[in-house]
């Protein structure tokens, strides 16, 4: 059923008419969403879409090329600050500032990719982690970036349109999101994508087969950083205010968690993982107002724990999800989806 008979079947964007139909249906649903739901859910959708962009980009690096990054909050911050700074200080239009700052993030990704060529495992994780922390510290200590006070985002307008509500901004985010996901999906079907996968599976073997390791590893870092940079630039306008504390190590960890929970080496997985974790993130921020569970947790906190620390339950939830996913379904949500699909396809057996 899923057999690929020739090269073109492997590389085509949509494998059948049904896929095209569902893709168009999804696009229509995304376009209609702002008219159907409350404002808060549009904010949530923006937040999810931005996390999906980062997760897809990070998956190109972690899931497809097999490199670890614990510093993606750094690229995210470069994108966010770059966009805001270019717009306020240099008066760039948004559509120019966003790609320029994403390219700046990609350049830093390239720079980080150079030492990463010789590193792996714990060495790579500490190097990327150090990069992420350094970016946050540098931004927080320099007054040109607003220091600890942070920066307010300027008015956002594209040509004649002013995007001043979440609803307007939603279309921009979704357009960028769809474009970047299709790009990522296309990329992994090309020579470059296959080189990434070869490097992940066996880098020395890939090199003997003629894959240029230097070029492809740094390229993977740069592309991944580009995605994070774009997402960062958009994120600044979702929050309308950025400060260095947002781009903490915890954020890098959450990005990595999205990719792993969704499933390494699967774009669908990244989308699902990012949506799940960002939904949890927003829901768990006011955990005590969740029906039924909230009241019970409040009573529990009062008698055995402390009520001031109740927001930390979200870390326990994330941690449990990460540990349980790795223990029971190492391929994440994608692995679960594949197993369910096979189960139903071969149903009576």
């Amino acid at each position: 059923m899923d057999m690929k008979r020739d090269y073109y079947e492997d590389v085509e964007l949509f494998s059948s008419g049904a896929v095209v139909f569902w893709f168009v249906a999804l696009l229509c649903a995304l376009a209609a969403l702002p008219f159907l739901v409350k404002n808060y859910y549009i904010y949530m959708a923006n937040y999810m879409a931005i996390n999906v962009i980062v997760a897809v980009g990070l998956n190109l690096l972690v899931g497809y090329t097999g490199q670890i990054s614990l510093g993606h909050a750094g690229f995210f911050a470069i994108g966010a600050y770059g966009t805001v700074m270019l717009m306020t200080k240099a008066h760039f239009p948004f559509l120019l500032a966003l790609p320029v700052s994403a390219l700046a993030a990609a350049f830093f990704g390239f720079l980080l990719g150079v030492p990463a060529l010789r590193l792996e495992g714990p060495y790579l994780s500490i190097a990327t982690l150090g990069f992420g922390l350094t970016v946050t510290q540098v931004i927080g200590r320099m007054s040109i970036f607003g220091g600890r006070q942070g920066l307010h985002t300027p008015e956002l307008s594209i040509g004649p349109w002013h995007l001043d509500s979440d609803r307007d901004f939603y279309y921009l985010v979704v357009a960028v999101l769809v474009f970047l996901i299709l790009t990522a999906r296309n990329l992994i079907k090309t020579k470059v994508g296959r080189a990434f996968i070869a490097i992940r599976d066996a880098d020395i073997a890939a090199e003997t087969m003629g894959v240029n390791l230097t070029y492809h590893k740094t390229l993977a870092f740069a592309i991944s950083a580009f995605y994070a940079g774009v997402a960062g630039g958009l994120y600044a306008f979702v929050l309308r205010f950025i400060e260095p504390e947002i781009f903490s190590l915890m954020m890098s960890i959450l990005f990595l968690a999205m990719v792993v929970v969704g499933g390494l080496g699967s774009i669908f997985g990244s989308i699902a993982g990012a949506c799940l974790l960002s939904w949890l993130d927003l829901e768990l921020r006011n955990i005590l107002s969740i029906p039924y569970l909230g009241g019970w947790l409040e009573a529990l906190s009062k008698s055995y724990f402390s009520i001031t620390g109740v927001s930390n339950i979200q870390f326990i939830v994330y941690g449990l999800i990460m540990v349980l996913i790795m223990l029971f379904e190492p391929l994440g949500i994608y692995g679960f989806w594949i197993r369910t699909k096979i189960y139903w396809k071969t149903w009576p057996f």
Partner: protein, 291 residues
């Protein structure tokens, strides 16, 4: 000159707690090739339990600290037994994710229970007493940390080299299949390793807690300890201690002569530089990867 000596001395003092955390991470990495991001939070849980029994149940210091170390050993062994051992298809990234997940769970539990506000833990030695060595002042707590770090390093070094258990741990690391064939219960060895490492981490935590006591207190020592361990090659005990002191000293010199603002970042810059030159740390033996 006095300023320079003072900066170096405080660097050594700070380096001692990094060294303990680095040692704890190296022990685990040596035997099981797992980067344990939960190291700091394992210590954190033990420290807060010590705080609780000291403040609310009126235990004596001796009983509380002995209890903390025993609990740390149990916690380390338990986490290995209950979580790490259950991982299917373990790889580096998967293990990192699991330990980060454990870290978040432990930190969530501690800060749920105790809240985020800083606490003060009573400690037999006040962190404000200072001892003069020549014209340089160090607090007596820092002297104690220094002594503990060196003692732990020496004991671990001798233990791994001369005791039967230590040799079994080395054997497990080098070739766990062969070790099993020689009659070593490698699973139990891993559990003991985690226990020992957790005790070392707990020592570091107990020595840090009189200075600062809040749920984020172990982040910085753990990351710096990890950086130190990586600088030393991730498998070398003296290497990680050397790396820790190097990071502590450079950090303090940088803080007092160049810029106090970027003091905490400079460690990571050094790490990246060192790794550019020697990709597997300063003291690691070169190994050839098989395809």
């Amino acid at each position: 000159m006095i300023g320079f000596l003072q900066a170096v001395t405080s660097g050594i003092a700070v380096g001692s707690s990094y060294a303990l955390m680095g040692l704890a991470m190296v022990i685990i990495y040596k035997t099981s090739e797992v980067v344990n991001f939960a190291q700091g939070e394992m210590a954190l849980l033990s420290c807060f339990l010590t705080y609780m029994v000291l403040e609310f149940y009126g235990f004596s210091f001796l009983a509380a600290f002995a209890g903390a170390l025993a609990f740390a050993a149990f916690l380390g062994g338990f986490l290995e037994f209950a979580v790490l051992r259950r991982a299917k298809e373990p790889n580096v990234l998967g293990m990192i994710i699991i330990t980060i997940g454990l870290e978040m769970i432990l930190m969530g539990i501690v800060s749920w229970k105790f809240g985020a506000d800083p606490k003060t833990m009573s400690f037999p030695i006040s962190p404000y007493d200072s001892v003069a060595i020549g014209e340089v002042f160090v607090s007596s707590l820092e002297v104690l940390t220094f002594i503990v770090a060196l003692t732990v390093m020496a004991v671990l070094f001798l233990f791994l080299r001369y005791s039967k258990l230590g040799v079994a741990m080395k054997a497990t690391q080098q070739n766990s299949m062969a070790a099993r064939l020689m009659g070593i219960r490698t699973n139990r060895i891993l559990m003991i390793t985690w226990g020992i490492s957790s005790v070392v981490g707990c020592l570091a935590g107990l020595l840090i807690s009189p200075i600062t006591m809040q749920p984020y207190m172990m982040w910085d020592p753990m990351l710096k300890g990890f950086a130190a361990a990586v600088m030393g090659g991730m498998t070398s005990l003296p290497g990680s201690v050397f790396g820790a002191y190097l990071i502590g000293i450079i950090e303090n010199l940088f803080g007092s002569y160049v810029s106090i603002e970027f003091k905490s970042v400079v460690a990571f810059a050094i790490i990246v530089l060192v790794l550019c030159i020697k990709p597997s740390g300063l003291f690691a033996r070169h190994y050839v990867k098989k395809v």
